[in-house]
Symmetry: C2
Subunit: 396 residues, 2 copies
């Protein structure tokens, strides 16, 4: 594992602490092989077995307190200038360190809004309170949500370059799938073909292999996030694939739609073509409006309204999500105002964030029209990371 | 993924709820691709994106409440008889279900003692309280620790068979390593050779690849849990490897010690041989005492005292841990009375649990003596899962 990007992110975290006026941020974990706080991938990079505290301060000091036996791994990684080892209990070195720094606010990893800022378990929270019992620091704990969301969202140049590479490599695999898909092959055949390429190229899948890729052919397919079935591609089918890889720790997440011509057709039926174009154009309308400062819910409204105004049912999910080390990354999302999304639809978007845009609609009798693109928020707008699908891909 | 063992475990959970007199057990999760409650591997087996509740009841009813889009995956898996889908918020179906069942106690996944019973994040705990606000169920929440620890600890016959297979396959790889290790190869060479076999055979590593395998050669090596280095094997070195695989979802975890003879030696020096035998005999003494009802701390005492009485320093870790789907599994462990282990050293051991036994001691000028065996608790004692290392392996 390269620690260069992790060092860069740890330094960025210091700047974010200053911006948010938070004195100290503690990622408090144990047995990360069994349960891994998602913050570890961003600012630590090593696993730990015993209770460990990874502490970043507004003054730039970075300190790790870890089990003696693992101290060397953290010294080597050199993300934390100070590495303190302990044998029997973390309490004493932890309380001593915090007391020395005397922070007015201590951010810890819990959040109702974002799973990625919610790596502290309830048991570990209780243990932390036990360690701090009798000190005034118990009252100074705050959520690290805004720190983590900013840190994950605002991609550095190095991160953006990897994300572009991951998207490019993924689109190459889509091109290979275009040549593979034909009447008679099943959804599972297509998924297995794609997985074979991923293994051969040494990439990882961006999400669980049960539905990465997810492949859907023909009318009334299973819902999104369902696994591929033994349903066969046939003439007159619309086919979709939802697929992403993880490359150098960063994810892609892309969808494309194909149509298999009937023997007497040389273009797709009007209803199929229209379904495709509505999705394509909805994405462009959102891309034209996306810029720092807008809210995700406004972007979701644009696509959702355009689709329903054209007589289709609304898609049963959000318009898009952030993308990074995790396939559903960051805090803010392009989400509707549904309770399960918490506050995330209402957070102003920021420069450097990467979002998917992935509306969908069903085309009765043929299948589903869905495209998923990736975009990057610039200072005044956004840029496509994926070369957008502008035409329905026709197969024979 | 096969759901047969998961169904078996879900049924076993009902029996444990009866035994512990707990009416309902809820595993409450979201975005399991980003953060996975360890209980999911045991009683669910599928991922979920949106807030989901997996509920097992004392009356045998098993109900999953999940996002509409993923409902089909859970219906197919058939671990939960009732699968309820929702679109915008889980609150209504969740509260309605709980109210209908009216449980006197509801176990949820938090625990200070066991990371494996502590999959509920603090943010998700707050969300659960929000959902249940205004009901009396808020006051009926209890820790699922004893349910999860019993469930993970008590292996079924099918689980034991897989664990034996994983151990056997791992020992074969140790035998291959015996042929590979010779003066001049580095710790990293050995680790890479072993990893190559794992990839070729299609297994996974049991823990993070940074130190799986961990390899140590010669005097004063890095501490346990350190990664392999470019230090070279030489004559007069003791060599250890700590290595395990994950096979069909279950882990092995084994250590062996080798000694490289000097050119004029035909057996190991007395001090090396003695260091080996103390460890070997400590393991046997523990195995002779291990049985349901004893406490882990008593087992740790046996080995720790035997080693220190023989003039060696005590090992800087616990004597052994449970093993299963996770490499550090279950609740109870063979641990000393150190704060970081919480209550786990004092929990009576149970039939069906699988433990490692892994004491260590340094042999000055030569390296480290360490063996790790796996044992299975029977009704009246224990049986070795690994064929124990009885002789120091001599290399030329």
């Amino acid at each position: 594992m390269s620690f260069e990007i992790i060092k860069e992110k740890a330094n960025q975290a210091v700047e974010i602490l200053k911006e948010k006026n938070i004195d100290m941020w503690i990622t408090f974990v144990r047995e990360t092989g069994a349960l891994k706080d998602p913050a570890l991938d961003i600012t630590v990079g090593n696993s730990s077995t015993w209770q460990s505290a990874f502490i970043i301060n507004i003054d730039g000091d970075k300190t790790a307190i870890v089990g003696d036996m693992e101290k060397e791994n953290f010294v080597k990684a050199d993300v934390y200038r100070n590495v303190i080892g302990y044998l029997k209990s973390i309490r004493e070195p932890l309380v001593e360190y915090i007391t020395k720094k005397n922070p007015k606010t201590i951010a810890i990893n819990y959040s109702k809004n974002s799973v990625l800022a919610d790596g502290l378990t309830y048991g570990m929270y209780q243990i932390l309170l036990d360690h701090l019992a009798g000190t005034e620091y118990v009252k100074r704990l705050v959520s690290a949500e805004e720190v983590i969301s900013a840190l994950r969202g605002r991609k550095s140049k190095a991160e953006l370059a990897i994300m572009k590479e991951a998207a490019d490599e993924t689109l190459k695999i889509f091109d290979m799938a275009t040549k593979f898909i034909k009447p008679g092959v099943t959804e599972l055949d297509i998924a297995n073909y794609v997985k074979g390429i991923v293994v051969k190229k040494g990439y990882e899948l961006a999400w669980e292999e049960t539905h990465c890729p997810a492949v859907f052919t023909g009318p009334d397919p299973a819902g999104p996030h369902s696994g591929p079935t033994d349903r066969k591609v046939d003439h007159g089918h619309m086919i979709n694939m939802d697929f992403g890889i993880k490359l150098k720790g960063y994810c892609s997440d892309i969808q494309r739609t194909w149509y298999v011509l009937n023997k007497n057709e040389d273009k797709a039926p009007e209803t199929v073509q229209k379904g495709f174009e509505i999705i394509r154009d909805a994405i462009q309308m959102v891309a034209d409006a996306l810029k720092p400062g807008v809210k995700g819910v406004e972007m979701d409204d644009i696509a959702r309204n355009y689709i329903t105004e054209n007589g289709y049912e609304e898609y049963p999910h959000g318009l898009g999500h952030q993308l990074g080390r995790s396939v559903h990354d960051g805090g803010a999302g392009l989400f509707p105002r549904w309770e399960k999304y918490g506050d995330t639809p209402f957070m102003p978007l920021e420069e450097g964030q990467i979002f998917t845009i992935e509306p969908r609609l069903p085309v009765k009798g043929y299948g589903v029209s869905t495209i998923e693109e990736e975009v990057y928020l610039t200072k005044n707008g956004c840029e496509f990371i994926t070369k957008p699908q502008k035409e329905l891909i026709l197969l024979r």
